[in-house]
């Protein structure tokens, strides 16, 4: 898979405030890249650099192997977190204007808008002003203006905020459809659920540094703690006898039908060893490895990073 975006050693400061410290990452063509990080970590600064709103102090950004140039703007679609439209302008007129600013001709803009407005079933809004629309409706219009020029790279900053679950689903489906047609998406969000669902790779920025990056599965594997959840029938005491230096009981929940234990297996041992030890004494109901979710990884990574910086 080729790379659509390669960021190499990018740094950016605003006065004394360091927004990005030597950030390097790669976004593969046709993938969904999750750009994560706490508020104020430097995500927006990085996105603004990719959009050429600001320039990096150091480092370089390559778009399809070339240094960023003004013409690349027409291949990038950006939905900022802080977004809005002209309140008093008519919806249709406004979409045409924004499309023209992205380099589309008026005729082409009208043609594509008609397609999208029909697809989203919002043709009736064409002559309404934005102030007549609800927040969710305006968000839909904004989403259309972001993708209308069919960008190869879409940068979506919190795209689901302001949507009800039904419309959020609709936007998510559109994202996946665009991806299947070859578009690359950078998704910046705090909604870890959608990261798990949509992203192929992630990058986590905290305090101006990129602290984690890579494919989602790989990142998760990196944060595994050799924790297993075993449901069993038997007493806690019987289980306790089996624990030793190779198995550590982290938690045991007692219930009427069966108990559930969280057990950490020390390096050099695996689930097979644990089950072999348990089976003669207890009846195993189920067993699975506990893999951390993105939310847990996010919190753990950021907390650790903050501890090391203090």
């Amino acid at each position: 898979m080729s790379e659509i975006l390669k960021i190499q050693g990018v740094s950016k400061s605003y006065g004394k405030h360091k927004a990005l410290s030597s950030v390097s990452l790669t976004v593969k063509s046709g993938s969904v890249y999750g750009l994560l990080g706490p508020n104020g970590a430097g995500k927006t600064s990085l996105i603004r650099i990719i959009n050429q709103i600001t320039a990096p102090d150091e480092g370089s950004v390559l778009f399809k192997g070339e240094s960023l140039r003004p013409e690349h703007i027409e291949h990038i679609g950006y939905l900022p977190e802080e977004r809005g439209l002209y309140k008093k302008m008519k919806v249709g007129e406004q979409c045409i204007y924004l499309a023209q600013l992205k380099g589309l001709s008026k005729q082409e803009a009208v043609k594509r808008l008609t397609y999208w407005f029909e697809r989203f079933d919002i043709m009736a809004w064409w002559n309404k002003t934005i102030e007549d629309l609800s927040k969710g409706m305006a968000q839909k219009v904004q989403f259309i203006t972001t993708i209308l020029h069919e960008p190869e790279l879409l940068i979506l900053d919190e795209p689901f905020s302001g949507f009800d679950p039904i419309n959020a689903k609709l936007i998510q489906e559109e994202m996946l459809r665009l991806k299947s047609k070859g578009a690359t998406i950078i998704l910046s969000t705090h909604d870890m659920g959608s990261v798990e669902e949509l992203c192929d790779d992630i990058g986590l920025i905290d305090k101006s540094h990129l602290i984690i990056s890579g494919p989602v599965a790989e990142v998760k594997a990196r944060f595994k703690e050799n924790l297993f959840e075993v449901a069993y029938k038997g007493t806690a005491m019987e289980l306790g006898i089996l624990m030793g230096h190779q198995f550590e009981l982290v938690q045991n929940d007692v219930a009427t039908e069966y108990n559930t234990a969280k057990i950490r297996i020390s390096p050099g041992h695996n689930l097979n060893h644990l089950l072999s030890a348990m089976m003669p004494q207890l009846e195993i109901v189920s067993a699975r490895e506990i893999i951390p979710n993105m939310n847990e990884i996010f919190i753990k990574a950021v907390t650790q990073n903050q501890l090391t910086h203090e």
Partner: protein, 450 residues
Amino acid sequence: MNKILLIIKREYLSRVKKKSFIIMTFLGPILFAALMFGAIAVTMNDNSVYQVLIVDPYEVITQKDSTTGAVYPRFTNHFKDSEKVMYSFSRTAVPPEAFKESQYEVMLEVDEATINDGKCNFFYKKFPGEFVQRKMGDDLENSLEKHRVIDSLQLDYEKYKRAKVSVSFADINVDNLGQEDRTQEKAFIGFIFAILIYMFIFMYGVQVMRGVIEEKTNRIVEVIVSSVKPFQLMMGKVIGIGLVGLTQFLMWVLLSFVVSSVGLSFFASNIASGAAVVENAQVMQTGMDQAVMMNELMNNQAINWFFQINWTLMIGLFLFYFIGGYFLYASLFAAIGAAVDSETDTQQFMAPVSLPLVFGYIISAMMIDNPESWAGNFFSVFPLTSPVVMMVKATVSSTSVGMIVLSMVILVITFIAFIALAGRIYRVGILMYGKKASYKEIWKWIKYNP
């Protein structure tokens, strides 16, 4: 299409299509003309007659018929009744309460102070207008003068009158012999242009600022600057709104011309008919009457200075200084808009930016009295005030072409520098939310590398 043109087009059309713009454009000159002609019409049609009682207990300006006992003016040339003033006289003092009960509207009391210093109290129930006051004043002044000449100085009044000289100036610039200049009247016309520029810069400069704040608070700015450079967005807005201002000005000139010619022909027909009633047949003659009247106006000494003014130059200068001044101030207003989060935060920056403009306005008002002052010379070249002050200065015929050109060049250099400076503040400011901008902060923005 070039992106900056797209922005100009949107800024221009979205404003020109607004109801408020259309209403202001059409109503402005009509309101203005209505106000002017209305005032004229009101004074022309003010038929109220003032009953004025002159009380003369020292018996200096009245005489009494010994047989009838009637009191009437001593100098019969004065205190003649007119359409608006009817005089009555009394030699006995009338207390204010009695005046209150009487049919008179105004009472003048000639007391010792009046005779010695010309100080005169008048009591009124209905305040007399300028015209009535002037008539009363003239009558009283002349009568008292005659009283002094004849009674105190014991001179022959006719001889005294021959000895009196009244001086009237005619100003002739040594470089422009052969005609009277009427510098002050011309300066006044320049001042009207100065007011227009002052008004337009403020009106449209503030619109630029509001537009920037709107885009910033709307958050649409982030979407737009991902398509165009912030500088293009700022310039598109400044130019687009400036064009709106020019459109409005040109429409006003055009409409004022139409409205005033209609108004003028109406008055011409009124005057020509000599009476209040306009016969149908006379309406046909209106055109001719108007031509006759215009001709009369142009030959009238009192008004021909008006036609001496180089109107083409004045309109040309107006356009130049409007555009130059507008660019200079609008770019600053754009920078203010970018630096704040809402209009309420603009105060601290508005004051220093509007101060020179207000100052220029005051200087130009002062220049009507003294157009050759050093302040007038300095501030008609100083770029922050020149757009306003030069409009007055240029009407004075001693103002050299060199000075006007110097003022223009300095203005152009300054507005280019200001646009560059404002652009640096703008590109950082529009993307800063929730941060209270201080002058120190803005100075940092200017130095930032984008």
